[in-house]
């Protein structure tokens, strides 16, 4: 008897405890920052504040290593195991939205009014994801280099033209002071190629795919503008301006600092390291090859999984996280560009006179998102291989034709990717 009542009491107690716990719905959040202590701490700060700010939800984070994050999410989606809140790389978002991994984001549009364009993830006219920051690329060089080579300093309003840029490379090459004039980061395979190099193609007037319809790459990737880009690209390696695909990854990391290269095409994440080594480092805008100066846009963003039963809470968390002080804090610990100018003003590096302020301007003026289509993940691979092949001496016309054909075949195999 006694045992029975004890058990009963325990049961009642545990049930009431369970229902209390149920009142606090758990929201699972997946993030790509495993191994990145600074980012994890900055995210945890937001989560703790959110959890304390209301009593309906508790956000619990699971971190994944960035390198394999997309594979993990795709596998989990196949197995029906997605969390409530996901972070997603900007150019990949349309793929996941189209496949039904994500649902449209239900947040107050007023909150993101003054955001940079890069961190806003739209697909099919709806907002699916929103980021705290953007990343930007610049042509790194040093004032002393420009002076020694007798070059003018390009600005956002008046960037180098294609000819000026090639003249700069010629001067660097002729000086004999460098192993190579230009370091493009060729050993960084993967997303770096389309992110860093497709803006050059756009500056020539071409593109990875025809953005007016997203139905074909014919003409965009293998038209006259693209051919001009391809020939230029090949000449960078054939004429010895830049190290090719077999560049030592160590040289990519340290070559510019060691003075092996006059110019380095690199992201803002490498900026502080360069500044530490030399105090006259410059972050120059992308050259204009006739059709404007561009750099890639969109970095990691947050969205809500389609399978989430707590979309309301998930959206509430994301909206909560978009406050300027959190954006500024994230930027301070990661060195990335905050999504709003008001947050930028609160940061160490991007405030007026900050060491990296120039990147905010670059991002604002030159950033162009990669093609907004579910097929981008495939096109990016095709583009990467085409650029590597051309760099290694493949016939430009044949390679670009083949790439355009492969992209078109992929669009067809996917019934137009829902455009």
């Amino acid at each position: 008897m006694k045992l029975g009542t004890t058990l009963g009491a325990a049961l009642v107690a545990s049930v009431s405890w369970a229902s209390m716990a149920a009142a606090q719905t758990e929201l699972s959040l997946w993030y790509h920052g495993a191994g990145n202590e600074a980012e994890s701490t900055a995210l945890q700060l937001i989560i703790d504040d959110f959890n304390a700010s209301q009593s309906d939800y508790t956000v619990v984070v699971e971190s994944f290593p960035q390198e394999s994050y997309n594979d993990s999410v795709v596998a989990a989606a196949l197995a029906g195991n997605l969390p409530d809140i996901l972070d997603v790389d900007g150019p990949v978002m349309p793929n996941w939205a189209w496949a039904g991994y994500l649902q449209p984001l239900d947040i107050n549009e007023g909150v993101i009014e003054n955001f940079l364009d890069g961190p806003k993830g739209y697909w099919g006219g709806e907002l699916y994801s929103i980021g705290f920051w953007d990343a930007a690329i610049a042509m790194m060089s040093r004032q002393s280099t420009l002076d020694a080579l007798g070059l003018r300093t390009p600005t956002i309003d008046s960037p180098w033209t294609g000819d000026e840029f090639m003249a700069a490379l010629d001067a660097a090459k002729a000086s004999g002071d460098y192993d190579f004039a230009l370091d493009l980061g060729m050993p960084w395979t993967g997303e770096w190629y389309p992110y860093a190099f497709s803006p050059f193609l756009q500056s020539f007037g071409g593109d990875i795919v025809d953005r007016s319809s997203y139905a074909t790459a014919e003409g965009a990737l293998n038209g006259d503008a693209a051919m001009a880009f391809g020939n230029w690209w090949q000449s960078l390696f054939a004429d010895g301006y830049a190290p090719g695909t077999s560049q030592d990854p160590a040289d990519r990391d340290t070559g510019f600092i060691d003075g092996k290269y006059a110019f380095s095409w690199n992201g803002n994440w490498a900026a502080l390291g360069a500044l530490e080594a030399h105090d006259d480092v410059l972050f120059l805008p992308a050259p204009d090859f006739g059709n404007g100066s561009y750099i890639g846009a969109a970095s990691w963003q947050f969205g809500v999984a389609a399978t989430s039963e707590n979309a309301e809470g998930a959206s509430a968390f994301i909206e909560f996280a978009l406050q300027d002080n959190y954006l500024a804090n994230f930027s301070n610990v990661t060195g990335l560009i905050p999504a709003t100018s008001t947050a930028a003003a609160m940061t160490d590096n991007y405030a007026e006179g900050g060491a990296l302020e120039v990147f905010f301007g670059l991002s604002e003026a030159q950033a162009l998102v990669r093609p907004v289509t579910p097929g981008y993940v495939v096109f990016a691979k095709v583009f990467e291989k085409a650029l590597a092949d051309i760099a290694n001496g493949a016939d430009v016309a044949d390679t670009l034709d083949a790439a355009a054909d492969e992209i078109n075949a992929d669009i067809e195999a996917n019934s137009g990717y829902g455009h």
Binding site: W30, A34, G35, N36, E37, E62, S63, F64, P65, Q66, E67, S68, D71, S72, A75, A76, L78, A79, G80, N81, D248, A250, D253, T254, I257, D258, G267, W269, A270, G273
Partner: protein, 292 residues
């Protein structure tokens, strides 16, 4: 005369050791590189790679990389997970695969040749090519857990173990080895009335030291270096193994020294297992002299 012979023998010995050592130099340098690099700061490490300094403990030597590596990732947890998953899988694999091989070699049963052909054919299938079908399959399998029957094996140890227990290579290793054991011995045991199980446990397995050691180390390597499978079936950090953990170190600004420190730590269990199993090669069938 005797003295000359002695000299000859001494000289030969020196030559033998010289050859062995020369070859050893060719084989030891990845480990040297890994270990030495783990003590160096990033820039120096990268600069050293173009010269023999890469294999020497020179320059700015410290344990900083180890300290940072432990801060970056729960290394103890990853090593524990890998050792647990690997250990259990290896033990079960040795048992099930040797048992099957025993049956293929010594027993005569209907369907035997077909079954063996199928098993050997599976050697050809690279895991990468069946990973996705297998993922879809295990995500539908039931499991009896603490809270009753659950559907789906994801996020667990058993999902990393059970599909890997039996494999064609291990079965094949045992089959080839058993073929070399003296059949007369087994027949004699049968005549004396021993059951098949007794023969397996008391006669065949005790004679199988070398192949057990070989199969164990090979399976250990495969399991310890698992990457793709845990990546797609494990979402929680709690169950992650060492090679997935390696990804924690590939950030935008890579600190190669930390990676080398991490790899040095996670290589220790493999080296230890090899050194332990190496003894089994010596305690071999050759010394028992049963082979006719």
């Amino acid at each position: 005369m005797a003295a000359i012979n002695q000299d000859n023998r001494g000289l030969r010995l020196i030559v033998r050791y010289a050859v062995l050592t020369l070859i050893a130099i060719i084989f030891i340098f990845p480990v040297l590189f890994m270990v030495m690099s783990s003590f160096k700061p990033n820039l120096q490490l990268l600069r050293d790679t173009s010269s023999l300094r890469a294999f020497l403990p020179v320059g700015d030597i410290s344990l900083d990389n180890y300290y940072d590596a432990f801060r970056r990732a729960p290394i103890g947890l990853f090593v524990f997970n890998s050792v647990l998953v690997t250990g259990v899988t290896v033990l079960l694999s040795l048992f099930f695969c040797s048992l099957a091989a025993f049956s293929f070699v010594y027993l005569n049963w209907k369907g035997r040749d077909l079954a063996l052909t199928i098993i050997i054919a599976t050697l050809i299938i690279p895991f990468e090519t069946i990973a996705i079908p297998l993922l879809l399959f295990v995500s539908k399998l039931p499991w009896i857990g603490l809270e009753g029957i659950e559907i789906g094996w994801l996020d667990s140890y058993h999902v990393q173990i059970i599909p890997w227990i039996a494999d064609g290579l291990t079965v094949f290793l045992f089959v080839q080895y058993f073929k070399d054991l003296p059949g007369e011995l087994i027949e004699a045991c049968r005549v004396e009335g021993a059951s098949w199980w007794q023969i397996y446990v008391k006669v065949v397995m005790p004679l199988s030291g070398p192949v057990i050691a070989t199969a164990a180390i090979l399976k250990f390597l495969v399991m310890y270096n698992q990457y793709l499978w845990p990546l797609i079936v494990v979402q929680q950090e709690t169950y992650r193994p060492v090679l997935v953990g390696l990804q924690y170190f590939f950030q935008l600004n890579i600190t190669w020294g930390e990676i080398m420190a991490y790899l040095t730590i996670v290589t220790i269990p493999v080296l230890a297992i090899y050194l332990v199993l190496q003894r089994a090669f010596i305690a071999s069938i050759a010394s028992t002299g049963v082979k006719g």
